[in-house]
């Protein structure tokens, strides 16, 4: 779960709670600490509390309980304009009545910076996002991607200690979004800034982040680097939310160390890795990634009968829907490698997976 609050953390949420109506908590007991230079993503479905957390950090929402600290200093009562936090908004929020240069110059003007220094910084910030020639344009004359770059450079031009991004790529088309993901990642690496990034797009989170905090129901479900999050989800929600996932529900029969034996609805059993399941007799949900299942006759602890229901050709792999242990929605990704097994719809075959790839989690 949330990593321990440390003394020298750069950004810290300490037992933060937030309620809008005094009846329900939008954020429940949030503990989070971030190191300087880290790229942390808050990922979660809408209404999970991630944007509220970002707004509390920016100063637009007040925490109902708990402390938020920046560089060891409590910032709960510091107004947003004194926090020195750059922010990129979902709709960019470029001031429509100002040119691009004036937009970038604005944070420097309110800091009473001299004219020549301002111009110098604006030019550097525009060059940084390859927009040097667009200084005299109005935001409305720019494409979505260009506006995105300007919003980014405006949030960086005054050298903030921390940059917040609230779904900044949500309005772009897929190709541009992927391109901007790399650009933001490179800016982060080159400038050494600390970034808190909010998104509901898991591939965005996995691509860019050092660590991802998966939010649901006002709580951090798991905080981990992308690979851990995908390969070793702590609970059913994370397993479901990140990537594709085959679910087998069952009952724990017995437990030996890390391994459990689970009885499935069709009466067969399956061995799984005990991650987050209860004692023998309790319900559990086994999560298996589709690419970790092999279509092979080789016997193992987890070999099961499978009936091919549907085949979809996707170029690099073939997506195969099967009936395994009575579950009609069991997906297997068969890599399109030389000599892979050619399946036919309606065919009966065998599938197998390793015990450590079957993770026994909490039931949903």
């Amino acid at each position: 779960m949330a990593s321990a609050v440390t003394q020298d953390a750069f950004v810290e949420f300490d037992r933060v709670q937030k309620s809008y109506d005094g009846e329900t908590l939008v954020v429940k007991d949030l503990n989070l600490s971030m190191a300087r230079g880290e790229f942390l993503t808050m990922l979660g479905p809408s209404g999970s509390g991630k944007t509220t957390c970002l707004m509390m950090l920016a100063g637009f929402e007040t925490a109902t309980h708990g402390e938020i600290r920046l560089e060891g200093r409590e910032i709960n009562n510091i107004p947003p304009h004194k926090r020195d936090i750059g922010m990129v908004f979902q709709n960019y929020a470029l001031f429509p009545h100002m040119t691009v240069s004036e937009n970038l110059s604005f944070p420097l003007e309110v800091r009473k910076m001299g004219k020549s220094e301002r111009e110098e910084k604006v030019k550097r910030a525009l060059d940084m996002v390859q927009m040097g020639e667009f200084g005299d344009r109005r935001p409305a004359q720019l494409s979505g991607g260009q506006q995105q770059r300007i919003a980014l450079s405006r949030a960086l031009v005054f050298d903030p200690t921390l940059v917040l991004m609230d779904e900044p790529l949500g309005a772009l088309d897929k190709q541009l979004r992927e391109h901007m993901q790399y650009e933001i990642k490179h800016l982060h690496e080159n400038l050494g800034i600390t970034v808190v990034y909010v998104t509901h797009d898991q591939s965005e989170a996995l691509t860019m982040s050092d660590r991802v905090a998966v939010f649901n129901d006002g709580k951090i479900q798991q905080l981990a680097p992308p690979d851990q999050l995908y390969e070793r989800p702590d609970n059913s929600f994370v397993a479901q939310f990140i990537g594709e996932n085959n679910k087998l529900t069952g009952k724990v029969l017995n437990r030996a160390g890390d391994a459990v034996l689970v009885e499935l609805p069709d009466g067969k059993t399956c061995e799984a890795l005990a991650v987050n399941c209860g004692e023998p007799g309790s319900e559990t949900l086994i999560s298996i990634r589709p690419e970790r299942v092999d279509v092979t006759e080789a016997a193992g602890p987890n070999t099961a009968q499978a009936k091919v229901l549907e085949l979809i050709y996707l170029g690099d792999h073939i997506r195969c829907r099967m009936n395994v242990h009575g579950n009609d929605a069991f997906i297997v990704k068969v890599p399109n490698s030389a000599g892979h097994k050619h399946l036919i719809v309606g065919e009966d075959t065998m599938v197998t997976w390793a015990t450590e790839d079957a993770r026994a989690l909490n039931p949903l």
């Binding site: 920016a58 100063g59 637009f60 107004p79 947003p80 304009h81 004194k82 926090r83 020195d84 936090i85 750059g86 922010m87 908004f89 979902q90 709709n91 929020a93 001031f95 429509p96 009545h97 604005f106 944070p107 309110v110 800091r111 405006r154 949030a155 005054f158 917040l164």
Partner: protein
């Protein structure tokens, strides 16, 4: 670009010029569109363009001295023909000689027959006061006049020797005249035809124009100050509260103008609600009741109230779509809430401010009922004087000239606004 494309002559596949083919293809749709707007076009012409044109025409045209129209038979007779001929033959500034008086006497006989001396007298009376009776009196005795006519007429009344009178008759002998415009800006022609200021005690119009403009400007500013917070509240409240508040803003539109204005009388008169409360609270003494109505204060208060929605609505329509993230972005970039308001929020509401101010100002400049009811004498506006000339003095030409000047003033303001702000920036709702 379009020039070069005509030169190269793009053609359709069967060789027709492309432009011709395009207009042929669109002709039917254009014809139908024209037929659809035709009733509206006719309505606008009949109810708007024709009356305004007539008003403009009347402000420079008055034929009361040259044409008589019988109300019964609708027969049109030229009058004062002899005198007009004498004016044509003699230059302005020539002293009226015997021939001139003879022509006048002959014309007076015709006037008597047509029963028209009052009409002519009224026309000259616009410019030289006290002359209406001169015409009626002299026409009554015109048939019995004997040469020399100069002496005979002067015998009836010495005023016939007044050079200003002759100057006025010369001016009126041509139906087209700019004299009503001169009168509308407190100018007149003296005896030798040059333009001079009228006496100080007769200067009313310029002062009234200035008062109208200043009061309209003041009312516009007051409306803006009051409407801005209301519009902002409307734009930021959750929809169910803002709908309720919107009803309160629109409520004045659903009540009669007269009811609204008279309720201000009830509130503000010296024995009214406001004064009673002040006296009861001991803020003013019973003998120190404030005069808040039947003067400029009354006009300002009542008109600000009545015109307020015209400022609130354009402001609201501009504020509603302004995303709160703009101000948030400004705050996160380091601007205090004041800076964020003045540099980010306020400039984005400029189209609404411009539209509201223009609307309120133009309405206020031409406002009539409210100043007439609560304005007293110091709160009268130019439109009240226009109404007076329409209904009281029946000097329609002067009323038309005043109204035309008002129209020109509004058009100039509109043009200035377009030059300074740009009319396409206007947002009315």
């Amino acid at each position: 670009m379009s020039d070069t494309s005509t030169d190269t002559g793009l053609r359709t596949v069967d060789g027709q010029p492309l432009k011709k083919a395009l207009s042929a293809a669109q002709a039917k749709a254009r014809r139908r569109a024209f037929l659809l707007v035709l009733p509206l076009l006719a309505f606008v012409i009949v109810t708007f363009i024709v009356p305004i044109g007539q008003m403009l025409h009347r402000s420079v045209y008055n034929a009361d001295f040259t044409i008589h129209k019988d109300f019964g038979t609708r027969e049109i007779t030229p009058i004062m023909t002899n005198l007009s001929a004498w004016f044509d033959a003699n230059l302005a500034g020539t002293d009226p000689d015997e021939a001139a008086f003879a022509a006048l006497a002959a014309d007076l006989v015709v006037l008597r027959e047509l029963r028209a001396p009052g009409q002519v007298g009224t026309r000259i009376n616009y410019e030289v006061s006290g002359t209406r009776s001169l015409f009626t009196k002299s026409a009554r005795r015109a048939e019995r006049l004997e040469p020399p006519y100069k002496e005979a007429l002067l015998d009836i009344d010495e005023d016939w020797a007044d050079p200003a009178l002759w100057q006025a008759m010369r001016g009126a002998s041509s139906p087209y005249t700019a004299n009503f415009y001169l009168a509308a800006v407190d100018l007149a022609r003296d005896a030798d035809g040059s333009i001079t200021q009228v006496n100080d005690n007769r200067k009313v119009y310029v002062k009234l124009f200035w008062r109208t403009l200043l009061l309209a400007a003041l009312i516009t500013v007051l409306c803006f100050i009051l409407a801005f917070p209301v519009a902002h509240l409307l734009a930021t409240l959750p929809l169910r509260y803002s709908n309720l508040l919107m009803i309160f803003v629109l409520l004045p539109f659903w009540t009669s103008l007269l009811v609204r204005t008279t309720s201000w009388i009830v509130l503000l008169q010296s024995q009214g609600v406001v004064n009673d409360i002040l006296v009861t609270l001991g803020i003013v003494g019973d003998d120190g009741r404030m005069q808040m109505i039947y003067n400029q204060t009354g006009t300002i208060i009542a008109m600000t109230h009545i015109l307020l929605p015209f400022m609130v609505l354009p402001l609201y329509s501009v504020m509603r779509p302004i995303d709160p993230s703009y101000v948030r972005a400004a705050r996160s970039l380091g601007a205090s809430s004041w800076t964020a308001f003045f540099r980010i929020y306020l400039p984005q509401t400029a189209p609404g401010i411009g539209a509201g101010a223009l609307l309120v100002f133009i309405l206020a400049v031409g406002y009539y009922i409210t100043p007439a009811l609560v304005g007293g004498s110091s709160g009268q506006l130019i439109s009240n004087l226009i109404a007076f000339h329409m209904q009281g003095s029946l000097n329609w030409s002067l009323a038309a000239a005043l109204a035309s000047l008002l129209l020109a003033g509004v058009l100039i303001l509109y043009w200035l606004y377009d030059r300074l702000v740009g009319i396409d920036n206007l947002k009315l709702g």
